[in-house]
């Protein structure tokens, strides 16, 4: 199982993790080792098997539509890296003239 540089770049963008060019070759090698491990599954006959998404066969539990959480905006904002007037601050997202 070989990964191309282009594939690695695409995965790293999808995952929003910057990967420096100089670590491409070592990372590719590690990922390829792991992907090779997956090939063992090809031998298993799963033609009549349903996918198991979860160990419990549960339906989504419901509850009464009542407010259970109190507003704790200030408490929650304490952990944010950048805050102004009760808002999370990020770099400008939409380009264009104001």
């Amino acid at each position: 199982m070989a990964l191309s540089d282009k594939e690695l770049k695409e995965i790293s963008y999808l995952a929003r993790i910057n990967v420096k060019e100089e670590s491409f070759s070592s990372l590719k090698k590690e990922l390829e080792q792991i992907l090779t491990l997956f090939e063992e599954l090809n031998e298993a006959d799963t033609s009549s098997i349903d996918a198991m998404s979860h160990p419990l066969d549960l339906s989504q539990p419901t509850r009464k539509d009542e407010v259970t959480e109190e507003n704790q905006r200030d408490e929650l904002l304490k952990n944010a890296p950048s805050v102004k007037s009760g808002l999370f601050i990020v770099p400008k997202v939409i380009d264009g003239e104001a």
């Binding site: 995952a15 792991i34 098997i49 996918a51 400008k92 997202v93």
Partner: protein
């Protein structure tokens, strides 16, 4: 008096009978932590002041004859359980300054029963690792020999209990992270049935596999605390709608006539002769206690490792997308735009193993590969679960080694991720099927301990603990502690 030599149960009785106070007991452990933990690095945060306040409150309740079920006994919590007012790091730079605005249900339940928190234990970053070498807060060492790893990801919990810096610790297990370190540190570690222990406030790695439990010095201590942290929680949609099980009721019952299954696929593997010998001796002990030994087949068990390394990274890539540098956690310096903020925050905030798993999971879930990897893995997962269902029609528990050997040296397996993954070859299947598993000490080699694993049918933690208690009542392996 060497208070740390008392079992947790004896400590609880000593407190009830006013032989010592919780402040004395807590101070004793805090002193041991400050005297010894430099060698092991098993704690990320020690909460000494808080602990003494909790201990004083417990002592007051004892004086007024209003004590709580686990009042005044200290515990260490894995730093994956959120604790309001005390930082929760999950072993990551990403959360190195994170103070959760709420507490996990596990912490809250044990707190409400009077337990005193000594601190938060070190762990592999986001619980990803089998050697506790991936923590942002530095590696943890094994108290039996500090050149060796304690196992992971609950390495700090195992290390501090093994060094008797805490009588017991909480831990979590996604593919073996309770049982493998328990085996490598000579402890009793139990992962209950998926859904027994609430995951609310337990930082998510792979949501369909993660489950909380404990590492302890005996099955009896483990039963006491696991019972206290189990039970239905409306805040966790995957929490089983069952009351907390009574885990001490059948603990001391005989295992006469009960059946132990030996999966032939496990015993066909090449294993070091000392592992085989220890396991054979354990089997003989069980025979002498009246258990019947039956060969069983888990014919798809060899698929477990690749299934796990698709499903766990896939779920982790989704769960860890929340660390974006916006609402909490680490943010990179001077991001030039929003993409740069995401890309560099996650590059700098996560360690190598976490990034590797997110990338693998992203790949496995990406368009064009989903059916070949994730869907295929989920189908194979069902095959493994079916094997267990069939096996439990004829046996009560399934016995195997917990790990392929004793602890390895730090750095020995860091270069090859797949070599490290083999550590969990015996433990992963129980997570895939959502079944309870326990590791108990059953031997040693070159001065390092080794464990055996028992896996039980769904909801049968009581039976696992009964088997473990029965073994521990007739052997001394669990009583051996390292000289620190």
């Amino acid at each position: 008096m060497d208070l740390h030599k008392l079992s947790l149960k004896e400590q609880l009785e000593g407190l009830k009978n006013s032989e010592f106070t919780s402040v004395e007991l807590t101070s004793h452990y805090l002193k041991r932590i400050s005297d010894h933990d430099e060698k092991f690095n098993s704690f990320i945060t020690v909460t000494g002041d808080n602990a003494l306040i909790q201990a004083q409150a417990a002592d007051e309740r004892y004086k007024k004859d209003k004590s709580l079920p686990l009042d005044g006994v200290p515990i260490a919590h894995k730093d994956i359980f959120c604790t309001k007012g005390v930082r929760t790091t999950c072993g990551s730079k990403m959360l190195s300054n994170f103070e959760a605005p709420y507490s996990s249900t596990v912490y809250t339940k044990l707190d409400e029963q009077g337990m005193v928190m000594l601190g938060k234990t070190n762990m592999d970053e986001f619980a990803m690792g089998s050697s506790n070498e991936t923590s942002y807060f530095g590696p943890v060492s094994n108290p039996w020999d500090t050149e060796y790893v304690p196992g992971g990801s609950s390495g700090g919990s195992a290390s501090c209990v093994s060094a008797e810096l805490a009588p017991i610790a909480t831990a979590t297990d996604t593919g073996g992270s309770i049982r493998q370190p328990a085996s490598l540190c000579g402890l009793t570690g139990i992962k209950p049935t998926y859904g027994r222990v609430s995951r609310y406030g337990m930082i998510a790695f792979a949501s369909s596999l993660d489950q909380g439990g404990v590492v302890a010095r005996s099955a009896e201590d483990a039963a006491l605390i696991l019972e206290g942290m189990s039970g239905h929680d409306p805040k966790d949609s995957t929490s089983l709608k069952l009351p907390s099980p009574d885990l001490t009721k059948n603990l001391k019952n005989s295992i006469q006539g009960m059946k132990i299954g030996l999966p032939k696929e496990f015993f066909e593997k090449d294993m070091p002769s000392y592992v085989e010998q220890s396991i054979q001796e354990a089997i003989e002990t069980y025979k002498s206690l009246g258990a019947e030994i039956v060969e069983v087949s888990l014919k798809n068990i060899n698929l477990s490792l690749p299934i796990y390394y698709i499903i766990a990274p896939a779920e982790c890539s989704a769960n860890l997308s929340r660390y974006d540098g916006v609402r909490y956690g680490y943010r990179c310096e001077d991001p030039k735009d929003i993409e740069d903020l995401y890309m560099r925050t996650r590059e700098e905030g996560f360690g190598a193993e976490v990034k590797r798993r997110i990338l693998i999971g992203t790949y496995a879930l990406s368009a064009g590969f989903y059916d070949a990897y994730y869907l295929k893995a989920q189908k194979c997962r069902q095959l493994v679960a079916n094997d267990f269902t069939n096996a439990f029609e004829s046996v009560d528990v399934i016995l195997s080694p917990t790990t392929p050997g004793t602890a390895f040296k730090a750095g020995e397996k860091s270069d090859d991720p797949t070599e490290m993954y083999l550590q969990d070859i015996f433990t992963i299947p129980a997570n895939l099927a959502g079944l309870p598993g326990i590791s108990i000490p059953c031997g040693e080699h070159d001065g390092l301990p080794l464990g055996m694993q028992l896996v039980g049918n769904s909801l049968e933690e009581d039976k696992l603990l009964q088997f473990a208690y029965s073994y521990q009542s007739n052997t001394d392996w669990h009583k051996k502690m390292p000289n620190i």
